[in-house]
Symmetry: C2
Subunit: 190 residues, 2 copies
């Protein structure tokens, strides 16, 4: 990881470099520990906000806010580097996956709350959808790092998708039943 070393970490903490190894054994172990602790803290900081969400678009608004905040804190680059490093490192991969899962769980519970009774929920795998949303979010965060304006458009498009789902949820019983049947047929014929 470029710019992340026992030395830079220790300097940021105002302590000696050797302490990294005394307390954590290795830089990687420190990173996995930090990743877990930090994510737990961030998820906790946002859980009240997630709980207040009452529509898909509000969920996206929280996501937007989160993205800006994380970027200002410089956490996006860290997440990216961790994910990248984790690609070829099963041990680091496990702890990054566990950290991501904290976000996924939060999002899944919101989706479950919002979409219960929706025609979409009857055929959708909400766990998978939460994972997809989280992954998309990570992707857009990374994208924002290389094309800020483009990432705004991407977020806007997600919002339009959310509108689509909400509108479908808002249909009257007749069109809704028709839609339901079509969705079921379409999914089944795969």
């Amino acid at each position: 990881m470029k710019g992340v070393s026992a030395r830079t970490i220790a300097a940021a903490a105002g302590v000696n470099q050797a302490l990294v190894f005394y307390h954590f054994g290795s830089v990687d172990d420190l990173l996995t520990a930090a990743c877990t602790m930090h994510t737990r803290a961030r998820v906790a900081a946002y859980s009240a906000e997630f709980a207040r969400v009452t529509s898909l678009r509000q969920l996206l608004d929280v996501g937007r806010k989160l993205q800006v905040a994380e970027r200002e804190l410089g956490n996006v680059s860290i997440l990216a580097q961790l994910l990248a490093a984790a690609q070829g490192d099963p041990k680091l991969g496990a702890s990054v996956a566990a950290a991501l899962q904290l976000w996924v769980d939060e999002i899944e519970s919101v989706l479950r709350r919002l979409l219960t009774g929706s025609p979409f929920a009857e055929v959708a795998d909400l766990g998978g959808l939460a994972k997809a949303v989280s992954a998309a979010f990570v992707g857009i965060e990374l994208y924002a790092g290389v094309d800020a304006e483009g990432s705004q458009h991407a977020m806007g498009a997600l919002e339009q998708l959310a509108v689509l789902v909400e509108v479908v949820d808002d249909l009257g019983p007749i069109s809704r039943r028709a839609l339901n049947a079509k969705i079921n047929r379409a999914v089944r014929t795969r």
Copy 2:
């Protein structure tokens, strides 16, 4: 970048380490050049397949295939590391963004072809949607590196979203006009 150095690159190419600097000036410059060339080649290799796509689900199938192939070639980790490295490096960022844009353009042209005349297309920003799809795809690729099974579910969820859009597209003229009005109203009231 872990494991990527002038020495390892030169070794893989069966040449001397000093040549990296002779031909490219620096490792970073080599990387940006390789990123651009490689992406161009991959996009070209898949463009025929993109052209044959006639539904959103087929588009996702191409994506799935692409993901497996890229992972087997070890390109996912490279993309991830490039994106991560690009977060704090404007120059590298520009070339990674340009490479990503090649995929985005391809996807946007498919979306434009598939969704023309759809109620969704009338309100959707297809450029933004293409970016969102690409970003989501990158996110899922990275996610697959730390949780293979979870990423399958995420892809499945995207497919269900695609079904939703397709089903809406397939509605009769009456329900469709109603839906259209609702979408327009929902988008306008933002």
